[in-house]
Amino acid sequence: MKHIVIIGGGIAGMESACALTDAGHWVTLIEKEAQLGGKLNQWSFLFPDFTPAEKIKDTLFDKCQERDFSILLKTEVKSVQTHQKKFNIETFGGQKLEADAVVVSSGYELFDARRKEEYGYKIYDHVITSADLEKLLRPGSDLSVAAGKNPKRIAFVHCVGSRDEKSGNHYCSKVCCITGVKQAIELKKRLPEAEIFCFYMDLRMYGKHFEELYREAQEKFDIQFIRGRLSEAAEKMDKSLLIKAEDTLSGRPLKMNVDLLVLLVGMEAGKGTATAAAKCSIEYEDSGFLKTNDTFLFSNFSSQEGIFLAGSCTAPMSVNDTILHARSAAMEVNSWLRKQ
């Protein structure tokens, strides 16, 4: 029986672990937090069909429960050494594991919105991130918490920390456009009186049902989409926010007063993935995301043989894409092990 160590117990790690167990291997899943699930634990409802994140998580948990593999929680990898085609993994807790293959599924981190100083996150009281809003969208939560009252005017800012040289992130985070559309609709459902504006540069509705949801947002929920990147926010005396953008389609500078500003924060490879890259001695790109052997046929292969990649440690990905990528990683590991 071959032993595979998976680093990172988010949804990519969970899905890979299940698939590899099904293929007849012994798996150890290492997670630094106290529970599995990663970032999925932070989301309430998923685009594009508002499936409760809980439901996906529970299904994945059940899948893991039903299978026999080892899970090490609150555990971090100290070192990964290669020795005679085996990987010797040591954890900070002093555990030593020997693996035939390694899967890195260390995931991503959300962009720290404080770095876009001009939007005043953690300075202006009523500026929140999409992750903050997600928590407020849970049933029964009080939306007035974020704006001191039920907000009458809300603006979403797309591309916060993405497609932005100033943040050091040139790439598109892919999921924020549709997240904005989803969250705008949810807010409108909860606050039918509120006016909602999305400030975007391009709306990248790449996935199944995404474009339809965008259309629904416009037609059914009267959400306004303004093509212009937000330049700055400033807090007024009543704590509302003065925001400035250009309505580029009419070619005019635009100033607006809003009660709540939501920053659609992008994805970064983050510390977890940087650490994994360092421990495993695998290559990463300028963006920090892990380098795959190619874009098309070898997207689960790292620069080192026997170390495989799954999920958003390689690029920004939706929940959907992550699960698919994790499954394909499991298949590649399985085929590779059989060839050994």
Partner: protein, 354 residues
């Protein structure tokens, strides 16, 4: 508003400011409109802080206003700047203390250009050598004069006579800050606190007992716009931008506006007068204007310098409301007097309450 985010930013942008031995370069606008501020700066450094700051009478304008109104080519201003550096080098100094924000921006722009395009540096070395026979070293440290006051703000406060508080109530005075655009908007790392939440004036005001008011149009330009003010028929640009700031700060009832730029305080001062003349509108308390301070004047007041010695009579918007709040003793009869104590000419103040 929460301070947590601001504190992170202030921690992130701590620039190096030399602590002694400065070569001083003056500002054209400061010398014309607030020459007393430059004298105050030198006095504070020399008499209060015991610093060595050297001025060479041969230094000239950096030609920045000409450059930013596009009549001076880039090669020309680079060479003029190189000449200032040569004077600094020859005098044995390595730290530049810059009075002007436009110049400060230009020094930074040129030094950065030379880093990125070394050929450009070689070209300018040749130009300077050919034109003047001089050679130069790039300064080790370029600090704006406000950076230096910021660095020593606690030492200044240790010698204080007054603080930025209302002497009757003991409450902090509410001050809005205005940072010159070219201080950090081009190179955020060159300014204390960066471009979005500069700490350079905030630090002074808070250390000296005042309270800083952050208002929505804080970051907006005063409206100088170089050619937009220099040419009479363009001045609508200038006044409308200043006005936008006044309207935005008015609800907070600030006791004063402080600026670290040479031009901005002049515009924020003069346009208040013009708006009152045109529309009868005033932005301060009791139908008066909001006093506008240079940071040198603000430091000088804290140290107990005489406002008229510092040239505060050269403001169009009266500074007395602020002096009274701080409990500063001054002689109103000497406001427009000369060195000999006699009135200088006649000030026609009819119709201006500012």
């Amino acid at each position: 508003m929460q301070n947590e985010g601001k504190q992170k930013i202030w921690k992130d942008y701590q620039k190096e400011i030399a602590d002694d031995h400065y070569f001083y370069v003056r500002s054209c606008i400061r010398q014309n409109f607030f020459p007393g501020s430059e004298q105050t700066f030198l006095k504070i450094l020399r008499a209060e802080l015991n610093k060595d700051i050297f001025e060479n009478p041969h230094h000239t304008t950096c030609s920045g206003i000409g450059y930013h109104s596009d009549i001076v080519p880039f090669d020309t201003i680079q060479t003029i700047v190189a000449r200032q550096f040569a004077l600094m080098t020859e005098a044995g100094y390595r730290n530049l203390a810059v009075s002007c924000i436009t110049s400060f921006g230009i020094y930074n722009e040129i030094i950065e250009t030379w880093k990125e395009f070394p050929n450009e540096l070689e070209k300018i070395r040749n130009y300077l050598k050919k034109a003047t026979g001089r050679e130069f070293k790039i300064p080790q440290n370029v600090s704006h004069a406000s950076d230096i006051i910021y660095k020593f703000r606690e030492d200044i406060f240790a010698r204080k006579k007054y603080s930025l508080t209302n002497h009757e109530t003991g409450k902090p005075l509410k001050i809005v800050e205005h940072i010159g655009c070219h201080y950090a908007k081009m190179f955020p790392g060159k300014g204390v606190g960066g471009a979005e939440f500069p700490h350079v004036l905030v630090g002074m005001i808070e250390s000296w007992g005042g309270e800083v008011i952050d208002y929505p149009e804080r970051r907006h330009c005063c409206g100088f716009g170089f050619r937009q003010y220099l040419v009479m028929s363009n001045r609508g640009y200038s006044i409308s931008n200043s006005k936008k700031k006044f309207e935005s700060m008015e609800p907070y009832r600030p006791d004063a506006i402080a600026s670290n730029c040479p031009g901005c305080p002049m515009f924020l001062d003069r346009w208040q007068y013009v708006i009152e003349e045109m529309e009868g509108k005033t932005y301060g308390q009791n139908g008066r204007g909001i006093p506008v301070l240079t940071y040198e004047e603000m430091a000088g007041l804290v140290l107990g310098y005489d406002p008229w010695d510092m040239g505060m009579q050269m403001h169009q918007t009266d500074v007395e409301p602020l002096l009274d709040k701080m409990g500063i003793e001054y002689n109103p009869d000497l406001k427009y007097a000369g060195k000999d104590g006699k009135q200088i000419g006649q000030v026609k103040m009819a119709g201006c309450k500012c």
